[in-house]
């Protein structure tokens, strides 16, 4: 009886040791995997790219930016709309691909600027100036 209890105790000890290790490494790998989906990095990259292009642009220009990777990352985070927003009060570009709140970056250009994502075409559309047509050729 005493021997059986001792053996049972040893088995329990070994099993709990393995389980704790498995849980620990699972959590660690999950953390790395979540970081590696790159939402944070892509948010920053797109926000800065759009802001710099706005600052550099002459008026009455339409800019299309490849957004395929961003849409892919957002879909992975179950986010399908509102990926890019404009804060006109602060002159800020905000890109949110599933991260909390997204990443914001300011631009200093004072031209009339509007931008939005086009999920179908997988691009970000940036219009600088008052007299710009959209992708369908419609005037604002």
């Amino acid at each position: 009886m005493r021997l059986m209890c001792k053996r049972g105790g040893l088995v329990l000890q070994r099993v709990s040791y393995v389980l704790v290790n498995l849980v620990f490494f699972f959590i660690l790998l999950l953390f790395v995997f979540k970081s590696a989906t790159g939402a944070a990095v892509y948010e920053q990259a797109y926000a800065k790219q759009v802001a710099l292009l706005i600052d550099e642009a002459e008026p009455d220009i339409l800019i299309l930016i490849d957004f395929e990777k961003g849409i892919e990352v957002a879909e992975g985070n179950k986010k399908t709309s509102g990926l890019i927003k404009q804060d006109k009060e602060e002159n800020k570009v905000i890109v949110n691909l599933g991260g909390k709140g997204g990443y914001g970056y300011k631009y200093f250009s004072n031209y009339e600027v509007t931008f939005y994502e086009d999920i179908q075409e997988k691009v970000i559309v940036v219009k600088v100036g008052d007299k710009v047509f959209d992708l369908e050729g419609n005037d604002d």
Binding site: F24, L28, F31, V32, S35, A36, G38, A40, V41, Q44, A45, A47, K48, L52, D55, E56, P59, E90, N91, I94, N96, G99, K100, G101, G102, Y103, G104, Y105, K106, Y107, F108, S109, N110, Y111
Partner: protein, 162 residues
């Protein structure tokens, strides 16, 4: 028996210590790699410099009405609030008369310290200086020079949800 128990306790402590080292190392590496800031301040300062120069100088000539009271924000379509926080520019015109226009957060000292790339400080702004020879009309055609110094220290950030 006592030896075995001591050995087991030591192994447990060693195991916990190893988990902490491995876990901590992996976490720090991951955060460092994926949390790195993409530094575009130099490009921003260049773009601002180009914007100012292009709006003040046309084909080598100073635009009409350029003087110490020139409205750089209105004339060059630059948002004044955006500039006040994270940017700086200084325009020095040298001709028959000399004047300067300065706006934004004063990064002049920091720009001076990093001018010759002797020292580099991570949190100092990135500065760009350009000098152009210009021609202007003031009772005749005259020559002068225009120095434009721009600096950017904008660091973006996570957007706070209201």
């Amino acid at each position: 028996m006592i030896k075995g128990k001591k050995g087991e306790k030591l192994m447990s402590l060693f195991w916990i210590f190893m988990l902490i080292i491995v876990g901590g190392g992996v976490s720090v590496s991951t955060i460092t790699v994926y949390g790195a800031e993409i530094d575009v301040r130099n490009i921003e300062a260049e773009i601002l410099n180009d914007r100012i120069l292009d709006c003040i100088v046309e084909d080598g000539f100073l635009v009409e009405g350029f003087d110490e009271n020139f409205d750089v924000f209105g004339g060059c379509k630059i948002n004044s609030e955006a500039i006040e926080d994270n940017f700086y520019f200084r325009i020095i015109f040298t001709g028959e008369k000399t004047f300067e226009i300065v706006r934004g957060t004063s990064f002049e000292t920091e720009c001076g310290l990093t001018e010759y790339n002797v020292i580099e400080v991570k949190y100092f702004p990135k500065c760009v200086k350009r000098v152009r020879n210009v021609v202007y009309v003031d009772g005749g055609i005259k020559e002068g020079s225009l120095e434009v110094l721009t600096a950017s220290n904008q660091v973006g950030g996570r957007n706070v949800i209201d």
